[in-house]
């Protein structure tokens, strides 16, 4: 899939921003960056496809995919007569069918995503908006969901003009408070709930933007997605002060998601333990993704979203 940009859509975004339809999160500067980003991605991925993503569904496409044995009732037009002449075996030629892709962008809006300076949620929403815009530009069917949010996202849509409802939705997303009931729901549970709502839709691509801080383990949510025969992309975000905490002394730790309170003396040893555990979490996530051919990106929340998205497309594995 490649990105194409209608400048009219960008103008519509700008007009919506001027009218106050979009809040301060996606400001004029963001929209300009988005526009520039879409242009850059289109140049980067030009030639890889023809504006459509090839699905794995076998049907009335043009490109040969495989053979299967003939069964009565099959369309004789697809019978491979050459094969029958050589081997006297009746088999049908199968072709890959071109179809529009269904993309679900899942942004983790749990309380832990509000942590960090800058908050991880801000970058997650910006990445979500950028991926949605690129997908819509490629005529894919795009839906955006904020995991754990009270309000549901807009229904799946196609076409660049549908970016406005998505931006409005993302602009209204706020991190959950640790004391709320929904905030205590784990990432896996939120993904399970999303999958149950999605049931009945065609298979497609699920982009999961989260910190993957899940008591069930970082891989559990991705495992769930794969079990539903969906392609998955993992984008893991960490705040700089989560990668290298500046805490010292006797502290009372308050878990942002569970509200659990524990006393801790942060010494150099404790910091080393923390760093080891955090590295293990990331290593496990990357290992799982590598094992199952799931594109995985680990990012720091202080990076600019446009550079991050561009890097994803350049390194490959994302939407292209």
């Amino acid at each position: 899939m490649t990105a194409s940009l209608d400048s009219g859509a960008a103008r519509a975004c700008a007009a919506a921003r001027t009218d106050g339809a979009i809040g301060s999160r996606f400001d004029e500067r963001f929209l300009r960056k988005l526009e520039s980003l879409a242009l850059t991605i289109r140049r980067t991925t030009a030639g890889r496809s023809h504006g459509m993503r090839r699905s794995r569904r076998v049907g009335a496409g043009l490109e040969f995919a495989d053979h299967r044995d003939y069964v009565p009732g099959d369309d004789l037009r697809y019978l491979d007569w050459n094969l029958y002449g050589r081997l006297e075996r009746r088999a049908l030629r199968l072709y890959e069918e071109d179809e529009d892709l269904s993309i679900d962008v899942l942004v983790d809006a749990s309380a832990s995503m509000a942590m960090g300076r800058p908050p991880k949620l801000e970058l997650a929403l910006q990445i979500g908006a950028a991926l949605a815009y690129v997908g819509l530009s490629n005529l894919d069917r795009v839906a955006v969901t904020a995991l754990g949010a009270e309000a549901a996202g807009p229904p799946p849509a196609r076409g660049k003009a549908r970016i406005l409802p998505i931006l409005r939705f993302l602009d209204a997303v706020h991190p959950l408070q640790g004391s709320s009931r929904t905030s205590r729901t784990s990432l896996t549970a939120a993904v399970r709930e999303f999958l149950s709502r999605r049931r009945g839709r065609r298979r497609g691509l699920v982009v999961l933007v989260s910190d993957f801080y899940d008591p069930a383990g970082a891989r559990a949510a991705l495992e769930l997605v794969r079990r539903h025969r969906l392609e998955a992309i993992a984008i893991q975000l960490s705040a700089p002060d989560e990668l290298a905490p500046q805490l010292r002394g006797d502290l009372q730790l308050y878990d942002a998601e569970t509200g659990e309170v524990r006393d801790l003396t942060v010494s150099p040893d404790a910091l080393a333990d923390y760093a080891r555990r955090h590295a293990t979490l990331l290593r496990e996530l990357r290992g799982y993704c590598r094992e199952h051919a799931v594109p995985c990106f680990t990012l720091s929340s202080d990076q600019p979203f446009d550079a991050v998205v561009l890097r994803m497309f350049r390194t490959g594995g994302l939407l292209g």
Binding site: A256, A270, R277
Partner: protein
Amino acid sequence: MELGGLAQVINATLGASGALSATAAAVIGVAGAAAITAFYLLRLRRRRVVVAFAPLWLGAAGAERATSRTRRLRHWLSLALALTLFAAILLGAVDPGRGRPGPGAPGPGALKQGQFDGGGRSLVLLIDRSASMSATDEVGSRLAAARRRADEIIGGLTGADRALVASFAADASAESGFESDPHRLRRAIAGVTPSDEPGDLQRALAFAAAILRGRPRPTVVLVSDGGFTDDARRRAPSDPDGRALDVRYAPVGRRADNLAILSLAARRIPADPGAVETALVVQSFRPTASTAAVEISSGGTVVEKVNLTLTPGERRRLTLPNLFAPDARVEARLTGADDLADDDQARATIPPLPRRRILRVGGPDLYLDGALLGLGRTVQVDRLPAADADRALARARDYDLVVFDGVTPSAPPAAGRYLYFDPQGAGNPFAAAGAVRPTRPVRDPVIDPASLHREHPLLRELDLADVNVAEAHRLVLGPGDVALAASFDVPLIVTRERPALRIAALAFDPRRSDLPMRPAFPLLIANALGWATRQTDNAAADPPLVDAGGTARDARESDTTPVPALALGGRVLAAPDPPAPHFRARFGSWALMLAAALLLFDWLSYHRRWTT
């Protein structure tokens, strides 16, 4: 708060004497311990920090340690350390050595039965910073030695003593207030700087007495080299109420090794303003005979040098007439090293030359104009043509000198100051009486060296030997006229001095000689101006040299002879009490060091919180 400051606050709160009773100490101790404990309990409250994912932290080693007994024990140990620290400070403030009698306190017999000696001395440390204290016979200087001596005295103070540091030279000033903190007193001592003024002992003692008025056990410790006048030593010190003052004397100074210029004066000689006369007084304060050289310089150039041999204590006056001084300032310097460098040099300022006016009458004469230009900017030269020679006579009173350059007015002058070059005709002041026809010129006259009046101001520093003159006219001398130079019986340079009239004349036209080509010619013009303007009134001629503006020193400050014992009012001053080792100094230092060590330990063990 600084620990010494805390002790002072406690002292100030509880009384001027600074005594802290056991009851007061107990009250402060209980209140302080309660406050420390309260603050400590508040400190034990952990700071709440929100983290994104607690399981990443909770498996860390610190989670177990946070609630362990050892950790809790460390908290209580930290509190114990804080309380110990407070106790150490309180103990330092209470000062167990306070009740001990300090140096200078009255003996046990002076106290009544059962009376507690809680008060200390009021001590004024009077440091001499007069000129003689700059002598270097002590390590550094006498003032540096005085500072060290004062430091020792401060080290001997008890906790009840209060001391004030003052310094004096011609005037006295306080360098600190009454303090018991040795550090502040030492800072004040270090701030005493040397002065070039003489020391006024009586003024300093009066200052100290005024400060000590009404204070308990007033004591003055004089740290000095004892170089004071007999008059200053004659009076016994007393306070404003007439009570005798306890004055101790701590001498500094090791030897007497000094030569000094006591005074230097320079002036222009009124009779000859171009000349400078210098007078200086040099004295030896060495116990043995010594030689020295005095260099006189002006404008950075040594213009005179005088070698001297002085007997012990000898004072010699030197007068140097006719000194050449190119600059308005004259400086005298004693060569050779001695203990006091400040009095080895002296300066004097010469008043500027008065402004002179010269009227030059005659035609163009580059030689004469060049010589007049060489007189400098203090001389104003006006010019008249030869035809206006008679008008020049009328204006003569406005000028210091009128030069007739080959021109002779129609009549001889009756008043004024004149220089004639080759005067002729009826107006020639040296014409023969009744002469009608001009005399015949004398060809190639030769100056007879024997005829030269070299001592005359007109010929001063002039070398007229071998001057070639083409021709001269015979001048006739009248009564009182003097021929300063002659070619046998032909006068060549003559002068006439009458009341209100001075005339000098050359019997030849300089342009018809090689005199203008010689250095003697501009000198002759300068001498003529000086001779014409010199004063003859003796009453105005010799003002005292010292009034001309120069250096005059107090010989007492240059006399660096040590004074190991000083007597005031006929009574020899006692030495300060030796600094008795007492408990407070050592205890206070140890208490402070202990406090610092405890603070450091507490910080290392508990306070490592530079968290954001």
